[in-house]
């Protein structure tokens, strides 16, 4: 009998513990992978310009000639501007579409077609028009980010339950009331879902521009390191780019947690 009552208490404790231990396991798995990488390279004697060790990669951050902080700041700025403007424009356009069916009919098919254009292929054109720099790379980032945000927001705004609209209409709710109380909050999970997709694309957008033509940023740094066969520095750049992507993604998730209660989120 006593074991029975104990076990239920243990279970609740075990649950809390398992979250902590899960984090430990996840971190451990990552560290084990790095260790495996390090050992493989050292044991098999792989040449550093083919595959550097993780330690060699981390050591690169001590070399000041790469100006890591500056170049990372440039890429981060491109991502922030491109992603930020894409969020504002994407959400605004989706709102305009939901307000004006005519506007949606005029513009939406064109946007769907534009979405089919491989945005990366526009890179050389954008750089030709705007010259290289933060502006052109932000524009490329924007072009990649805006569609997922626009399309998912648009879908979210149209997903309102018909019965809920009937309920609002039976109360003679005005259009803006329906929008403010039902449509917009209902669409927010979709907005964030689109922003999460865009967060991952944003890093790719910035880096493409820097690959094509640039004089700063982590993509520029990779091209420079490549020309001197400094593979470790290229890996170090990729690590920083990954961290930038994670940072944007986390920012979106944190914002989402502030705005949307648990059950209304789209995982």
């Amino acid at each position: 009998m006593s074991t029975l009552s104990l076990s239920s208490a243990d279970q609740s404790k075990g649950c809390r513990k398992s979250i902590g231990s899960r984090i430990v396991i996840i971190l451990g798995a990552h560290l084990a992978l790095l260790l495996l990488w390090q050992l493989t390279v050292v044991m098999l004697g792989i040449k550093p310009f083919l595959l550097p060790t993780p330690v060699a990669m981390l050591e690169k951050f001590c070399q000041p000639q790469y100006a890591w902080m500056y170049n990372m700041a440039v890429t981060a700025a491109e991502i922030a501007i491109g992603f930020g403007v894409a969020s504002v424009v994407g959400i605004t356009l989706a709102l305009l579409f939901s307000w004006s069916p005519l506007f949606a009919l005029l513009l939406f098919p064109i946007l769907v077609t534009l979405n089919m254009v491989p945005k990366v292929a526009l890179g050389p054109l954008v750089i030709m028009w705007l010259r290289y720099g933060i502006e052109s790379n932000s524009v490329i980032t924007f072009s990649l980010c805006v569609f997922p945000i626009l399309l998912t927001t648009n879908r979210g705004l149209r997903e309102t339950e018909p019965d809920l609209l009937d309920l609002m209409h039976s109360l003679k709710a005005k259009r803006w009331q329906i929008f403010r109380m039902v449509q917009l909050p209902g669409a927010l999970p979709y907005v964030f879902s689109g922003m999460k997709v865009a967060a991952i694309l944003a890093v790719a957008g910035a880096i493409v521009g820097e690959f094509i033509a640039s004089d700063s940023g982590l993509g520029y740094l990779m091209i420079q390191a490549q020309s001197s066969f400094d593979t470790a520095a290229m890996f170090a750049s990729i690590l920083l780019l990954t961290l930038l992507g994670v940072a944007v993604y986390l920012a979106v998730i944190i914002l989402e947690q502030f705005i949307i209660p648990k059950d209304a989120r789209i995982v």
Partner: protein
């Protein structure tokens, strides 16, 4: 298309002939209403006369509702029962002012109409349709937000209603923390917040399991008794229609028309045992028969 939508004035001046086979609930020998408000002498608050509604284009139209005539008195609990496609929901939406009518007449007693203009109607659907991002209290407050009612008294009323439907203590919870039955009670509280005289319910308990449904049915009778609302209740279930209603309209599909409208001569308060009585059995048999089921 609306030849006659709402006709104001006293529907009691019965100048409209009801079709012969429509059994007028007025003439029912017993008065099943518990509130005492609805007496057969008083004029009906809503009178539907040969109501007809067609959907679709001229070339490709289908009859959603036809031949619907009924008098609804204040405090009535009218069950609309029938298969899918018989027009139950359409009638509800016409009463909610969401649809116009194509033929026939919907007339409201003058005082009821002015009250409808002020307090609108309360609606409950098969799904609770609570807003996920609002707490239960905020959800119940939704009509107050839409209608711009003063917040303080509305909040007080919301708390009172939540207590009445047995949800006190859940005010600060989010919908996902409540079971389906509890969510539906919150939806009922929301429908009552702005104190509408008319409560329209569209298969509100259709998504609940059988036992929860019986329990909520009993709750529903209590809520009706406490509020004295006029309720129009759409259901698939003959048992539910007969157990709850003071009057019952049987609707058939293909073509959609009203087969009968009758008073349910079972006294209130009703307990679940009512379902085992002879009268209940007779009514059930009759309804099955009307629906063409043996």
């Amino acid at each position: 298309m609306n030849k006659v939508a709402y006709r104001t004035g006293d529907a009691g001046d019965a100048e409209i002939k009801l079709r012969g086979f429509v059994m007028n609930a007025d003439r029912s020998p017993s008065d099943p209403s518990p509130s005492g408000l609805a007496t057969s002498a008083a004029a009906p608050v809503i009178r539907l006369t040969n109501l007809c509604k067609v959907f679709g284009t001229k070339a490709n139209s289908h009859l959603a509702v036809s031949n619907v005539s009924m008098d609804i008195h204040e405090g009535d609990f009218v069950s609309l029962v029938g298969p899918s496609g018989c027009g139950k929901t359409t009638i509800l939406k016409i009463l909610a002012g969401l649809y116009g009518v194509d033929e026939g007449m919907l007339s409201l007693r003058a005082d009821f109409q002015s009250d409808m203009a002020k307090h609108h109607v309360g609606m409950v659907f098969q799904q609770p349709l609570l807003l996920k991002w609002r707490t239960i209290l905020e959800n119940v407050m939704l009509p107050a937000d839409v209608l711009g009612l003063p917040r303080r008294p509305a909040q007080k009323r919301a708390r009172y209603l939540l207590e009445m439907v047995g949800l006190s203590g859940s005010e600060a919870k989010y919908p996902y923390e409540l079971s389906g039955g509890m969510q539906q009670r919150a939806a009922i509280a929301r429908a009552l917040l702005h104190d509408p005289k008319l409560l329209l319910m569209d298969e509100p308990f259709g998504a609940l399991d059988a036992l929860t449904r019986e329990r909520v049915n009993l709750e529903m009778l209590r809520i009706w008794h406490e509020t004295g609302k006029t309720i129009i209740f759409v259901t698939h279930s003959i048992q539910e229609a007969l157990f709850l209603g003071s009057k019952c309209a049987v609707l058939t599909s293909g073509p959609a028309r009203m087969a009968d409208f009758f008073a349910i001569p079972l006294p209130y308060p009703r307990a679940l045992e009512v379902k085992t009585t002879e009268v209940f059995g007779e009514l059930t048999k009759r309804t099955y028969h009307l629906l063409g089921m043996k």
